[in-house]
């Protein structure tokens, strides 16, 4: 079970609790969030509960609620690839969405990603991060490229890879801006 709290860049990532599930489901099923996902299907209450019970016991993934000023605004996660535990994975796939409409068009979308990328590269053993994005999702492509990702394979679904040096180089200024306080 994930008890890990991450804080920095003005946001807090706290482990998902059962009381968060309905809010997360509503966000996940909303049109703007669903459009970004590889699967466009809506999630039922039963599916959401089954998913939560599975991921709580899975050492290969962590899921968090993103909070800004103590208010939930979205969700972030990391998943081990080619390994059964996150702390043994050299490749990790991060993901996130901003559910709160007030923060969708906002630079804060970078803050949770900086936090989890730092965690993956500096605390876990990740040597690279992988993002899988629909080629038609130009906003997500641009977002990942700003973080230093390089396109690895370019089809209908693109694979992008981020190494630590590329990440550090691409985000130095952004990190300064989001950690001034």
């Amino acid at each position: 079970m994930n008890n890990l709290l991450l804080q920095g860049y003005a946001v807090t990532l706290r482990p998902i609790q059962s009381s968060d599930l309905e809010q997360l489901r509503q966000w996940r099923n909303s049109e703007p969030v669903r459009q970004q996902m590889l699967s466009q299907q809506t999630i039922s209450v039963e599916q959401q509960n089954a998913w939560f019970s599975k991921v709580q016991r899975d050492p290969a993934q962590h899921h968090w609620v993103i909070e800004y000023k103590s208010r939930p605004i979205g969700s972030a996660n990391i998943k081990a690839l080619y390994a059964s535990k996150l702390d043994e994975a050299t490749t990790i796939e991060p993901g996130l969405y901003i559910g709160d409409p007030a923060y969708r068009q906002n630079i804060i979308a970078f803050a949770p990603t900086l936090l989890i990328n730092d965690y993956c590269f500096n605390t876990l053993a990740a040597s690279q991060l992988k993002a899988v994005v629909k080629a038609s999702n130009q906003a997500a492509m641009n977002y990942n490229i700003k973080l230093g990702y390089k396109v690895h394979s370019n089809h209908d679904v693109c694979e992008l890879i981020l190494t630590k040096p590329a990440y550090e180089q691409a985000t130095a200024m952004l990190k300064q801006l989001l950690s001034r306080n």
């Binding site: 003005a10 800004y68 068009q105 906002n106 804060i108 641009n142 801006l177």
Partner: protein
């Protein structure tokens, strides 16, 4: 130069857009020019133009021209 003119100059230079595009309703990520890189340039331009230091919450809140005015007003800059 009036504060409104300074604001238009900072947005125009920071985002690399025509001054005429700087309207209150202009919002982050709604035009290709206003992305995260340009947002950093914009913050620098506003800080230089108005001689202020913005904190992280203000940088996050500055998601439109109207919001920028509201935040700068809290730094005793009137429009």
């Amino acid at each position: 130069m009036t504060n409104q003119e300074k604001l238009v100059k900072a947005f125009s230079e920071g985002l690399g857009i025509e001054p005429g595009m700087v309207k209150d309703e202009l919002t982050y990520n709604t035009i290709p020019q206003w992305d995260s890189t340009a947002h950093m340039m914009l913050i620098g331009a506003l800080e230089r133009e108005f001689d202020v230091m913005l904190d992280t919450d203000e940088i996050i809140d500055m998601s439109s021209v109207a919001k920028a005015k509201s935040i700068l007003t809290q730094h005793q800059i009137s429009f």
